[in-house]
Symmetry: C2
């Protein structure tokens, strides 16, 4: 089955698509794309996709609703054009954090995204979807790509005295997997409410961080508040260097400054979102290419 | 079946929902709505919808993709909340003009909107969807609401010497229906390319507009270019007053000025889009309420 790679409508998607095409030597078909003066998106796939396998890369960056909608427009164009298989790669999946009803009356936002995508795509690859269970709404053919080990290898994070920390117990598996690669210990941070001040403090569950190089691993950083607090505390406990390894660096407002000031030495992120100064990015394209190869 | 009315996330939708609720004495449930700092929408329906018929009003105004996505988030919240029936009213349907493949490789944008909405809503009412055939993608239960006769009645457009014009032959039925209500003649404008200058001219197919009050009827005005050209020509042919009756007044940039300068006396539009100075709006709520009544 002939494969054709279609970069999405934003710079992030184009960069990752370029990287995938270099790895797999895929033919690239750039969509014709514009936004009409009234705000509607126009997309056209100017290539013959009939009986081909089309691989679309579209990161759901801000404006998320537009990025998502453009992915389904491309999906419809592929269906219309007679593609025999269509695969969507979503480096950053928006709305993944609204994955359950936290308060009665809420939607499960990630569910409607998944249900819509499955009308138009046969397979879905997402880089770190926050909760892997959300992929069940797509059904068969959805795969989560965990980037941490790959990133750590690319960055050469192995060191003699390193330990991995998860910001909470819920994400402990990420820390565990990464620690297995780094052959080091791992732990998570316990949040406690100070009975006198009422403030939230946190500390490693058991790990002694004194004189250790700490890698905090997380899926998404938005405001950076939790990680900055964690870093300050780890510094007090004697941590040597603190690195943050994050899949998706949203970094709202002054987040990066805040993290730097809290004592973090380096922030590493996958290139799934628009780039910001003060972050070292790891190109996730080759890892996605590996997944695509092993699938075909 | 108890009915509950849910206004959408923008001012246009709230105004129309208010109007419907006054007509039908429906209980209104205002969603809790915010946009997170990263751009994702948050919606919660803070009412018990279990075993009720929920009627949602959401106009797909700019940003269209967000308005659309919020409609499906509300639909998901209603499904999650156990609503026994859900009806979506879309005063302005975005992407209705991409209703076929004009150039190979294009999507049928309105189709993916319809297919997505039908996952979450049992019935759909749209005010003037450009091409009624597009509703087939929703399947059973989709209704187009033609607003022109209602608007003409509200505005008292009957006059002794009026005639109705469609800007092109494709939309002639709109002009015909309105002319039947106004008990007057109707026609359409023929575009011709001037063989010497190469410019486009247009003129009424047969109608003598001299000394007549003309109502130009159209579904959407974006730039106003066509209608302004038509108006200038009708003035040359001796038209007395020229009124424009339009369902959806997008009116990009200087459109309204352009129309005024071309000799148009009054622009009448339904209140399906954000309001602009220089347009007289007709509240479409009571007409939608009539449709909802006749359905129940």
């Amino acid at each position: 089955l002939e494969r054709i790679l279609i970069p999405g409508t934003n710079g992030v998607s184009k960069e990752i698509a370029d990287s995938i095409s270099r790895e797999l030597l895929l033919k690239v078909c750039k969509p014709i794309y514009k936004v009409f003066p009234d705000g509607e998106s126009y997309i056209r796939i100017p290539c013959d996709v009939k009986n081909k396998e089309a691989i679309v890369v579209q990161s759901f960056i801000q404006p998320q609703d537009k990025s998502f909608f453009e992915a389904i427009l491309i999906g419809d164009a592929l269906r219309e054009g007679g593609a025999s298989n269509s695969i969507l790669i979503v480096p950053y999946m928006a709305y993944a954090r609204q994955d359950k009803v936290f308060l009665e009356g809420e939607p499960i936002s990630i569910r409607v995204i998944m249900e819509t995508l499955r009308m138009l795509y046969k397979r879905l690859f997402v880089v770190e979807i926050h909760k892997e269970e959300s992929l069940k709404y797509f059904g068969e053919g959805a795969v989560n790509i965990s980037p941490y080990t790959y990133m750590a290898r690319q960055l050469g994070l192995e060191s003699s005295n390193v330990a991995v920390l998860s910001p909470d117990i819920g994400a402990l598996n990420r820390a565990k997997t990464l620690s297995q690669f780094l052959k080091c210990s791992y732990d998570y941070l316990v949040k406690r409410r100070d009975k006198i001040t009422g403030g939230i403090t946190m500390e490693p569950k058991e790990l002694d961080v004194n004189n250790k190089d700490i890698v905090i691993v997380d899926d998404i950083i938005s405001t950076g508040g939790t990680i900055a607090s964690a870093s300050s505390i780890l510094k007090k406990y004697g941590a040597r260097h603190i690195h943050v390894l994050v899949a998706h660096a949203i970094m709202l407002g002054e987040a990066i400054d805040k993290l730097r000031k809290s004592g973090i030495d380096e922030i590493y992120a996958a290139n799934t979102l628009p780039k910001k100064d003060g972050i070292k990015y790891v190109d996730i394209g080759p890892l996605i290419a590996d997944y695509l190869s092993s699938y075909s």
